[in-house]
């Protein structure tokens, strides 16, 4: 497998962690309780930690003195390969938890497979991440139940988030050309195989939460090809601000 394919494959995984970590960081200091604020920040830190491991690996693969920060901050929007789901804004706590839950379930399944990757670095990053993401899934599942089966208002709010965000979940299971190549060499994971388990887990928790999956026929996609929603540009404007305003400096 050529380096460039491997790098693109890693972006497909790592950019999700970066962008979701960035979204969660926005909430620091604004959570519904101090305890919840601290918990959300812990997840952001886990995700950003994973991001750094992936990007440091990409930097090594690239050579020519690239750093994790060049990769995180200096690509143009079309070069970020995260799914649309993770860039969706923090409309309210129901959105935050639902987005997290939809992603966590996928993320855990992915890492459980990725730990068997022939690529030793990816396998090691996955093994470490599994512990963190298991906790994320536990946290977001518990909150889905609390919001879904809490008050009438909370039920309605979180159902609104489910209805709105479900259309972004199908993209999690799409294969890109780089994915296909990575699968062939035993490095990548065939995410199409995860869909059944994913749906089962989602259904199980949502049922407990007295929530329903909306019946939709048309799902959104594009993130994996670098075609993002309008929210992404603003997220990147924040993320990249310093590196763009003050190029080539050390911080």
């Amino acid at each position: 497998m050529k380096n460039e394919n491997l790098i693109q494959y890693i972006y497909g995984i790592a950019d999700n962690a970066l962008i979701l970590g960035q979204r969660l960081s926005e909430l620091c200091g604004h959570g519904p309780s101090l305890e919840t604020d601290i918990a959300l920040t812990n997840m952001a830190l886990d995700l950003l930690g994973q991001t750094r491991s992936y990007y440091q690996y990409v930097a090594r693969l690239t050579g020519d003195e690239k750093t994790e920060d060049d990769i995180a901050f200096l690509r143009i929007e079309r070069q970020y390969k995260n799914v649309l789901l993770v860039e969706q804004p923090n409309r309210h706590f129901g959105y935050v938890i639902t987005r997290q839950f939809f992603f966590d379930v996928f993320h855990l399944l992915l890492l459980q497979e990725l730990q068997n990757s022939k690529d030793e670095t990816l396998s090691a990053i996955a093994k470490k991440g599994i512990k963190e993401v298991s906790y994320h899934q536990r946290f977001s599942s518990d909150w889905m139940k609390r919001l879904g089966d809490g008050t009438e208002e909370s039920h309605q709010k979180v159902q609104e988030a489910v209805d709105d965000l479900w259309r972004f979940t199908d993209e999690l299971f799409h294969l890109t050309e780089d994915d296909k190549e990575a699968i062939e060499t035993g490095i990548g994971i065939d995410v199409t195989n995860l869909k059944e388990k994913y749906n089962k887990k989602i259904k199980e928790i949502l049922e407990e939460a007295t929530l329903t999956i909306p019946e939709i026929k048309w799902f959104q996609k594009g993130g994996k090809q670098g075609i993002h929603s309008e929210h992404m540009g603003y997220l990147l404007a924040d993320l990249q601000y310093m590196q763009r305003a003050y190029p080539n400096m050390v911080w």
């Binding site: 309780s33 919840t36 918990a39 812990n42 518990d142 609390r146």
Partner: protein, 94 residues
């Protein structure tokens, strides 16, 4: 002042072999959340291997006003301590 999360006391075992020690308190709606919050709040720096949480209202505490009758009678029972007894200097392993 409606529907506020109750207060919980958090006890953490910092490593196996040691007892759980009172670390502090926090607010949570239920026991599960109290455990998760305790993990996030009190073990961010690797401080623990096991957590207990108990809702504060379930703890019965002795009243300091009674501490005279509760604890002072033990003060002059010096014969309960090994140093009360005199032994010859030569004796070993006792």
């Amino acid at each position: 002042m409606k529907n506020n999360w109750p207060l919980w006391e958090v006890f953490v075992r910092s490593k196996n072999g040691l007892e759980h020690r009172h670390f502090g308190s926090l607010h949570a709606a239920d026991a599960e959340m109290a455990l998760e919050n305790a993990r996030d709040v009190y073990t961010r720096r690797n401080e623990g291997v096991s957590i207990w949480v108990v809702e504060s209202k379930h703890i019965t505490a002795s009243n300091p006003e009674n501490s005279g009758e509760l604890f002072e009678p033990a003060q002059d029972k010096v014969y309960r301590h090994p140093t009360f007894y005199t032994l010859p200097d030569e004796v070993k392993h006792m």
